[in-house]
Symmetry: C2
Subunit: 265 residues, 2 copies
Amino acid sequence: MPFAIRDIIDRLRGDVPPLDDTVDVLLGPGGPDTPVGGAAVAFMPSIEAIERAAALGANLLIAHEGVYYSHRMPERLPDDDPVYAFKRDLLRRAGVNVYRHHDDCHRPAPDPITLGLVRALGWEAALERMLPAAAVLAVPAMRADEAAARVKARLGLSGARFAGDPGAVCRRIGVLAGYRGGGGLAVPLLREERLDLIVAGEGPEWETPEYVRDAVHLGAAKALLFVGHAESEAPGMRLVAERLQEACPGLPVHWLDDKPALRYL
Amino acid sequence: MPFAIRDIIDRLRGDVPPLDDTVDVLLGPGGPDTPVGGAAVAFMPSIEAIERAAALGANLLIAHEGVYYSHRMPERLPDDDPVYAFKRDLLRRAGVNVYRHHDDCHRPAPDPITLGLVRALGWEAALERMLPAAAVLAVPAMRADEAAARVKARLGLSGARFAGDPGAVCRRIGVLAGYRGGGGLAVPLLREERLDLIVAGEGPEWETPEYVRDAVHLGAAKALLFVGHAESEAPGMRLVAERLQEACPGLPVHWLDDKPALRYL
């Protein structure tokens, strides 16, 4: 008997209890009882990813971010925008359902998105502690610019953004996936975990980068590397795909790798 | 008779009525009645900017962003963080008051921050319309990658982030300073103003960049350039400094140029 969409969602959620307020939502022509012929997993549910899922015979696309370019699902789609209209119609026409696996995805301990990133960085053996929103690593001493070069090479990045002291000797590194590079999370982590370097996806430019700038001005050896949101969370979604395949023997599960939308000039 | 801090704030605010809820705040050892021996203007009130203001004999530093690494002033500063503690004590020790000129700064029509950016880009003659949160430009046709190269050169950027079609022919460009590159502002603007290119400071990576990616996948010739938050708003703060100097003859007003905290690797 084939898996229904609700079975897949149950396996993705695991043993975390349902949330009252969540951005995780199922969009598309089917409902939770729809049988799943195949599943695809991507970081972004771009139009191209939806088309690739359909071409692979997958009627369920599991993605980390939202379909309609905002964290919260818009209350109403603009009725005069051809991009929104095409995407909405594409789901129906291609018979692809998109399930957003975001809030529940981050809830297990350890967070598979953080774990996937730490593994992609080749730093799992250096993992000292996994916090709800960050990994704390204890690494052999290296300069911040060496650490940045290593991160760029491991993640295959063409660019990244850096703040602080390139010569800072890094022994303790904090890794924060996605939009967790903001000051509310990253600044207390720097202080409380006595970190030398933060590696994060993205965050507001006037928060953590400015704290690091001020700290370095006072003589502290601190640094920050923003690797990009997609770049920091795609490895974790790939891990989610691998785990789903293990949990659903017989179900075709396809990982859709993709280039980030932003590139460096 | 010297200007008091409240006189300077009145001149900065101009004829916009006071806001009930604002991030604009005066921090430091003095109050609104403190006589101003000299004023300095910067985008960021970094520790270095505060020290430079003090060295110039300026006891008032006017800055666009917050002192303590967040958009809203923290209700309570962490009591075990040496960077916060140093900065708080520095204001007292150096006798520098920091006035955040942010919300009121953006309220005149045209917004001086947007106008300063358009001028720095050399595009004031191309200005078609100034909206509350954006400038709409009609430019001679150029490719998006040519426009990006021009923007980088005019702003002196070592890097920038780009999404969309480098070959898109751009005749209509939207310019959004600061954090206005998010989907809530930039996506409707692209549609309603039939823009080919958005030039913005920063914005969440999963919003406008993903919309542009999808639009290009459907064959639309669209592009997006994120130039950096500080890079996009510093020219406008420089304009604020020039206007303050005109409004306060005899008051020494110093523009503090600075490098952004983030650099590209």
